[in-house]
């Protein structure tokens, strides 16, 4: 049972919940950028929570199925077709052997996900099936899919069934300005108070330099507090003694173009970071594209944990409703 890739789309990769436990030697977690869309996809097709799925960006892939199975398209707002007939998204759909899944033009968001009953069966690499293309490991041969690839499908679907649907009220909307919550801290003291205020006041625009490693934004210039640099950091005011970067952390090299690190993040470095995006809000960043606007809303730790809990409770509720 396989999927034949007729057209790979753009940077379509195999992803799961990610690769934990190797941060200290430089492996970022990788895994689906929009965790909600990924988990709901698996729940819709009746997979166990960690099954591998496909993540695409901007364009969907064209995929042929060689046996009858059940799939679900989630994530970005994009029309999906099976053999030319539009199918509902956020709903499990039966496909027959020889059927072809294709996509129309993106209407909202950035990343569609394709879940398949049984999951995409690629070898585990350091405990995960996620692709980490930066060094070419994991997923399908460590790279984005190409035309002609044949992906095996796993056989351990718990309960594949067509017609499971996410309630319309639970389908994420992709507003014109994405709002993400930010816990200010880490090396935020390196920025002037004015600049920190400017950071959360500014409507930032996603630049073309936006991928699974991180998103770069444009919108304002930020200033550092002058100081005598501590030994080891380097003389540039944006420099700190090299340290670990949390996934979701925001750095501002040169005071321009802040970078938010995502799941394929570099795990450490020597640029000052001003805070960290709350983990569940990386889902929202994952659904923004070049030119989209983003606003960072400051929260404290309790606020961050509340945002997290609300989002994960909702996911739990959805999963039980679908099982």
């Amino acid at each position: 049972m396989t999927i034949r890739v007729q057209d790979p789309g753009l940077e379509t990769t195999v992803q799961d919940t990610g690769r934990l436990g190797y941060y200290s030697i430089g492996f970022p977690p990788s895994g689906a950028l929009d965790s909600f869309a990924y988990h709901v996809g698996n729940a819709l097709v009746g997979n166990e929570p960690g099954a591998a799925a496909l993540e695409a960006v901007y364009l969907g892939p064209t995929l042929e199925f060689t046996e009858d199975t059940v799939i679900a398209v989630t994530g970005a707002e994009i029309p999906a077709f099976v053999d030319g007939e539009e199918i509902p998204t956020w709903e499990s759909v039966a496909v027959s052997s020889g059927s072809v899944l294709s996509f129309g033009q993106l209407r909202g968001g950035a990343r569609p996900y394709v879940a398949v009953a049984g999951g995409i069966d690629v070898p585990l690499y350091y405990g995960s099936r996620s692709t980490y293309t930066l060094v070419g490991i994991g997923g399908f041969q460590g790279r984005a899919l190409r035309a002609g690839d044949e992906l095996a499908i796993g056989s351990d679907a718990r309960d594949p069934k067509a017609g499971r649907r996410l309630d319309a009220g639970d389908v994420p909307v992709h507003p014109s300005t994405a709002e993400v919550h930010l816990l200010v801290g880490l090396h935020s003291y390196r920025l002037t108070d004015d600049s920190l205020a400017r950071f959360t006041d500014t409507e930032w625009k996603v630049t073309p330099d936006a991928n699974r490693v991180g998103y770069r934004f444009r919108g304002a210039e930020l200033e550092f507090v002058p100081r005598e640099q501590p030994f080891g950091a380097g003389s540039d005011p944006a420099n700190v003694t090299d340290c670990g970067y949390p996934v979701g952390s925001v750095q501002v090299p040169g005071g321009v173009e802040p970078i938010v690190l995502l799941q394929d993040a570099v795990t450490g470095g020597g640029y000052a970071t001003l805070g960290t995006v709350v983990s569940v809000d990386r889902d929202r960043l994952a659904q923004t594209k070049t030119g989209d606007k983003t606003r960072f809303v400051a929260v404290d730790l309790d606020g961050a944990l509340e945002v997290r809990k609300d989002r994960l409770d909702a996911l739990d509720r959805i999963r039980s409703a679908l099982s």
């Binding site: 080891g232 090299d242 952390s249 020597g270 997290r308």
Partner: protein, 299 residues
């Protein structure tokens, strides 16, 4: 919030990370405290702790907030820090010293760095000329000599898999220090030898990077398919480990190409020896300790 050089800062990196900065400045005693704390934390195997990443003068912990409240984790870390105390004179670290060939002022990094002068502090020179000047060397050649004169200690791993941050084992007044690029490059050659802050690195793969580019290593430090025996025999895709001592040995183009040929043939092996490193002994006699370590490696 203040950032003194002595007071430990505990902070939250969003809901899933705790960042602990033992000092804003780098020093070996601080680094070994970070190692001692993170080792103890690993031994305690506290449920909810998912990743422990020691670094130069700080460390980071990834926590599952659904199992362990990040504030409770901070309390545990403060307790461990108190228990570990200051660097003990008796501390001895079992490690190894590795011979790492390096070609400085090489053609490959030179080509790339010239493309990114607009992101550099000194658009009109090269990274090596700039490093030599701001560190007070009268010639670039003297600067190059200093870079390879004494071994380095791996005090952090990361950025991408296998990249070692290397802190040169010389007294502070002899340590090289350079800023990172004003804005990071979008391109760095594979195996580039770079320098940022007080740290030397080898970039395992090509990609973005903000370090000054000084040279190239012929041998890989990351092998995703574990093709070379150093990687296959240790069942690891990365070669270096925290605490390794690295001796960067200058090679010319001929030796560089020879190592490349061995890598291509799948026969390349690093030369290294087991070693016990005593931080207090090093701090008391840096040059004597370095000479003894080199004797272990090459003697």
């Amino acid at each position: 919030m203040t950032a003194t050089e002595t007071e430990t800062r505990y902070d939250h990196g969003g809901d899933e990370f705790v960042y602990v900065e033992l000092s804003a400045a780098m020093s070996l005693p601080v680094h070994f405290r970070s190692l001692a704390i993170t080792r103890r934390l690993a031994e305690e195997a506290i449920p909810g702790v998912e990743e422990i990443a020691p670094s130069n003068a700080s460390y980071m912990v990834r926590v599952d907030p659904d199992r362990l409240h990040p504030r409770d984790l901070v309390r545990e870390l403060q307790r461990i820090e108190d228990e570990v105390g200051e660097l003990s004179d008796d501390l001895v670290v079992a490690t190894r010293i590795v011979d790492v060939p390096i070609m400085l002022n090489d053609p490959w990094t030179h080509e790339v760095l010239m493309k990114f002068r607009d992101r550099h502090q000194d658009p009109n020179g090269t990274d090596l000329d700039y490093g030599a000047r701001i560190n007070g060397y009268s010639s670039t050649e003297d600067f190059i000599d200093a870079l390879a004169a004494s071994p380095y200690l791996v005090t952090m791993m990361g950025f991408v898999p296998g990249l070692p941050w290397c802190f040169q084992l010389v007294p502070r007044e002899r340590q090289v220090e350079v800023p990172k690029y004003v804005r990071p490059r979008t391109e760095t050659p594979e195996r580039a030898f770079g320098f940022g802050g007080a740290f030397a690195v080898i970039y395992p793969v090509k990609g973005a990077g903000g370090y000054q580019l000084f040279g190239s290593a012929p041998a890989p430090i990351f092998d995703g398919e574990q093709r070379l025996p150093d990687f296959a025999e240790n069942d690891s895709v990365v070669f270096f480990q925290h605490g390794d001592v690295i001796n960067y040995r200058r090679v010319d183009r001929e030796e560089y190409d020879d190592v490349r040929a061995q890598v291509d043939a799948g026969t390349w092996r690093y030369s290294y020896k087991e070693l016990e490193f005593s931080p207090s002994r090093f701090l008391a006699d840096p040059d004597g300790t370095n000479a003894a370590m080199k004797e272990v490696l090459y003697g």
